[in-house]
Symmetry: C2
Subunit: 114 residues, 2 copies
Amino acid sequence: MTDTIFGRIARGEQAADLLYEDEDVVAFRDINPQAPIHILVIPRKPIATLNALEPQDAELIGKLFLAAARIAAQEGIAERGYRTVINCNAEAGQTVFHLHLHLLGGRPLQWPPG
Amino acid sequence: MTDTIFGRIARGEQAADLLYEDEDVVAFRDINPQAPIHILVIPRKPIATLNALEPQDAELIGKLFLAAARIAAQEGIAERGYRTVINCNAEAGQTVFHLHLHLLGGRPLQWPPG
């Protein structure tokens, strides 16, 4: 398993602007925000990409979204709306190979989504 | 629970270009595609938005992503890459209030994601 900056954040070895953490999930602000609110939600377990998901990871992936919804409420964007994005591999622009959910909001988001 | 077109597709009451289905999940092509491959993956269970998720839905949400990864492989975009998007409420552009995952690929996807 290749180490990544997100793995180091998940293990507390790298500083980040943490917003939420529990035994399975960590959330922090993206350092290159694409919207007024742009937060990353990651599993502590290092999973490289969506392609590497195994059936036993299903509940963990769902927990990322439960955390994202909770954080959206805390940030005051739950009712206005927000977008969640998970990129896989090069054509989607994935650059860190530790699966991560982007939570974006605070402005109207355009369509198509990139 | 408000009925929606996706609920009718999930129940087999409305035709769609189905690509995958199992007891929990249905996938079909978006009728207004934003990329060469643009597929919607939905739970059969009608959940209006991410804000309505409950802890017992976590595994089901994960199953949407397991299905998306399987479909991406079938469509030949798993290695090139693909983007998954779930929109919540108006500022994200959600128009059908039955939770749905957008799977997009077949072209380079831009950043920001909308």
